[in-house]
C-alpha cells in the first residue's frame, strides 16, 4: 500500500516540477513582482546551543527550491531547533546561540544587516498546535499584510480569498469570514494557519509537526495541501510520523542527538539507509 502511494506522489511531483514556471506567473498583479524564483536554502556547519547545552552539531544541508524536505528523528534530536533556525524563531529563547551559516538565496540570515522581521516575512511557519489569533478568520489572514503596512482593503480582500483557496479552506468558510477563528475545528484552524502563512507570499514554509494534533482526515487534507503548495514554495517539515515523511517529502534528513546523521532522497532513507542509527530508527527499533 505504502509504496504504491509513494510512487503515485512521486509521479505527481515530477509532473508538478514542469508546472513551476507557469506557477510563477499566477494572475496576481500585486505580488507577482515581489516573488523571487530562486529559493535555495542551505546551512553550513551550523551549531546551536541553549545556554551550555549543545543541541545541534555541525549541520550542513543544501535544499533545492520547490521540494519538500522532512526532518525526522527521536524527541530531543534537534530537528525542531534546526527548523526554527530558518526563521530565527530560536532567537526568542533566552540563551540561544548559533554558529555557522544559514543561507537563503545565498544570503546569511544571521548577518547583522538582516532584518529579522523581513526574514520572517519570507519564511512562513506553521506550528504544532493550531494557533489562530482570537480574531475573525478574515483578520487572521489579513494580519500578515497589516503588519507589513498593507491596508488597502481591495488588496487584502483578494489576498484573503486567494490564500484561503490555496489552503483549501475557502469553500468551508467563505460565508463566515468574520466569525471568530477559534470556532473552527482543529483541522480547519491548521489550514487557516497555513493560509495565514502563505498570505504574505513567503518563499519558504516551515511546518513544525503541523499535523500531530489533528485527526487522520484533517491530516490527509493537509498532506494533500503540502503536495499542492510545493509548486510555489520550498517546504520543510518536522514530523514524528514516518509514514507522513514517506508520503509527502522528496528529501529526508535524519537527526540523532544533535547530529544530522543522514540526508538523502526520502526513498533512499527509508529503503536503503546508509547509517546504522537511521536504519534502527526507520526500522522502528527506537523512537
Amino acid at each position: 500500500m505504502e509504496t504504491i502511494r509513494i510512487e503515485k506522489k512521486m509521479k505527481t511531483n515530477t509532473e508538478k516540477q514542469h508546472e513551476i514556471v507557469s506557477a510563477e506567473f499566477m494572475p496576481d498583479e500585486n505580488f507577482s513582482t515581489k516573488r523571487k524564483v530562486m529559493n535555495k536554502i542551505e546551512t553550513k556547519n551550523v551549531h546551536c546551543w541553549y545556554g551550555d547545552f549543545h543541541v545541534l552539531r555541525d549541520v550542513t544541508i543544501a535544499i533545492e527550491p520547490n521540494t519538500v524536505t522532512a526532518l525526522i528523528g527521536p524527541s530531543g534530536c534537534g530537528k525542531s531547533t534546526y527548523l526554527r533556525a530558518f526563521n530565527r524563531m530560536n532567537d526568542l529563547i533566552d540563551g540561544f546561540k548559533l554558529e555557522g551559516d544559514v543561507l537563503i538565496d545565498g544570503k546569511n540570515i544571521y548577518d547583522k544587516q538582516m532584518h529579522v522581521n523581513e526574514l520572517r516575512k519570507n519564511v512562513g511557519m506553521v506550528f504544532q498546535k493550531p494557533n489562530p489569533f482570537p480574531k475573525s478568520i478574515y483578520e487572521n489572514v489579513a494580519y500578515g499584510l497589516r503588519v507589513n503596512g498593507i491596508n488597502d482593503k481591495k488588496v487584502i480582500d483578494e489576498t484573503v480569498e486567494r490564500s484561503l483557496k490555496q489552503a483549501a479552506l475557502w469553500n468551508e468558510v467563505k460565508d463566515n469570514l468574520h466569525k471568530n477563528a477559534l470556532g473552527l475545528s482543529g483541522g480547519q484552524q491548521q489550514r487557516l494557519c497555513i493560509a495565514r502563512a502563505i498570505a504574505i507570499q513567503p518563499s519558504v514554509i516551515l511546518m513544525d509537526e503541523a499535523t500531530s494534533a489533528l485527526d487522520p482526515i484533517s491530516t490527509g487534507k493537509i498532506e494533500d495541501l503540502i503536495a499542492e503548495l510545493k509548486k510555489d514554495y520550498t517546504i520543510m517539515i518536522v514530523t514524528h510520523n514516518m509514514q507522513q515523511a514517506v508520503r509527502v517529502s522528496d528529501k529526508t534528513a535524519f537527526f540523532f542527538l544533535g547530529d544530522m546523521v543522514e540526508y538523502n532522497n526520502t526513498k533512499e532513507i527509508f529503503n536503503n539507509p546508509q547509517q546504522e542509527h537511521t536504519r534502527n530508527y526507520v526500522g522502528g527499533r527506537f523512537g
Binding site: 520572517r120 519570507n122 506550528f127 494557533n131 480574531k135 500578515g144 503588519v147
Partner: protein
C-alpha cells in the same frame, strides 16, 4: 464517648464556628448597609446632589464633592492607565531576567505595601511644592496615580502572562515586530484582565481620603473646579469633614454621602467581578 465521637463533635463544632467566622464579615456589611440606609437615605435628593457645602446641615450638598471626584478620577486614570500598562508590558515582554528585573519586581511589591498616607507626603513635597502644582487637582491626581500604579502594573502583568506563547510565535512568524505583536495580539488578548485591574484600581482611588488630605484637598470648596489647576474636594473628604463635626445633623449628611460612595464602590467592584468572570469564560485557548 469514644474517640470517634469526640472527633465528630470537634469537627461539628468547628463547622459551626467556621460558618460564624465566614459570615461575620458579611453580617457586618449587612449592618453597615442597613445603618447608612436608615441614617442617610431620607437625605438623598436632587437638592443633595446639586447643593454646595453649607454651614447649615440641611442645606449642604455634595455638588462640589462629586464634581471634584469626577475630575480627580478622570485625571488619575489618564495618568495611571498608560503608565501602568506600559510598565506592565515592559516587565513582562521586554525586560530580560536579571538583577534589574528582580529589582523592579521587589520595588513594585514594596510600593504596593506603602501606606497610602506616605504617598500623600510624597505628593505634598514633590507635586505641590517642588513642581509648583499647588494644592490642585493635578497634584492630587499624580499622587493617586502613583498610589494605584502597582495595582495596574500587577494586573497587567498577570493578564499578559496568561496569553499563550503560541500566539506571540504566530505573530512573530508572520514578520510582525515586537511592538506590533504586543499591540495587535498580546494586549487585545489580555484586555479583559487589564480592564478588571484598572476598574479595581480606580475604585480604590475613589475611596482614598488620607493622601488627598495631606496634599491639601480642601474640606470647604464653594465652587466647582474649572481646570486641573484648581483646588478641589472629593466625596470621601466631604464625608470625613461631616463625620468630624460635633453636630449630629451633619452625621446624616455623612451617611447620605456614604450611600453614594458605597454605591459607586459596589458598582465598580461588581462590574470588575462580572468582567473577570465573563472574560475567563470567553477565553478558551
Amino acid at each position: 464517648m469514644n474517640n470517634e465521637d469526640i472527633k465528630t463533635l470537634k469537627n461539628n463544632s468547628f463547622k459551626v464556628w467556621a460558618v460564624f467566622a465566614t459570615s461575620i464579615g458579611l453580617v457586618m456589611l449587612g449592618i453597615l448597609l442597613v445603618k447608612i440606609g436608615m441614617d442617610g437615605m431620607h437625605r438623598i435628593s436632587m437638592q443633595f446632589f446639586t447643593s454646595l457645602p453649607s454651614r447649615r446641615a440641611e442645606e449642604a450638598g455634595i455638588f462640589t464633592a462629586w464634581v471634584g471626584t469626577l475630575w480627580i478620577m478622570g485625571t488619575t486614570a489618564l495618568i495611571a492607565i498608560p503608565v501602568g500598562i506600559g510598565a506592565g508590558i515592559y516587565l513582562e515582554e521586554y525586560s530580560k531576567k536579571g538583577w534589574w528585573s528582580s529589582f523592579l519586581e521587589i520595588n513594585i511589591s514594596n510600593l504596593a505595601g506603602v501606606p497610602s498616607i506616605i504617598y500623600g507626603l510624597l505628593g505634598l513635597e514633590v507635586f505641590v511644592r517642588l513642581l509648583h502644582m499647588g494644592e490642585s487637582i493635578l497634584a492630587g491626581s499624580f499622587t493617586l496615580a502613583l498610589l494605584i500604579l502597582p495595582i495596574v502594573i500587577v494586573s497587567t502583568r498577570e493578564s499578559i502572562k496568561a496569553v499563550p506563547k503560541t500566539l506571540r510565535e504566530a505573530s512573530y512568524a508572520l514578520g510582525a515586530s515586537k511592538w506590533q505583536t504586543v499591540w495587535m495580539q498580546v494586549l487585545p488578548a489580555a484586555a479583559g484582565g487589564v480592564m478588571t485591574g484598572i476598574i479595581l484600581a480606580l475604585s480604590r482611588a475613589i475611596g482614598e481620603t488620607a493622601p488627598l488630605i495631606v496634599v491639601g484637598a480642601l474640606t470647604y470648596v464653594p465652587f466647582t473646579p474649572k481646570s486641573v489647576f484648581d483646588s478641589f474636594t472629593v466625596l470621601p473628604i466631604q464625608i470625613f469633614n461631616w463625620v468630624s463635626r460635633p453636630q449630629a445633623e451633619f452625621l446624616v449628611n455623612a451617611a447620605a454621602g456614604i450611600i453614594v460612595l458605597v454605591a459607586i464602590t459596589i458598582v465598580m467592584n461588581g462590574s470588575a467581578v462580572l468582567l473577570r468572570n465573563r472574560w475567563q469564560k470567553n477565553v478558551k485557548w
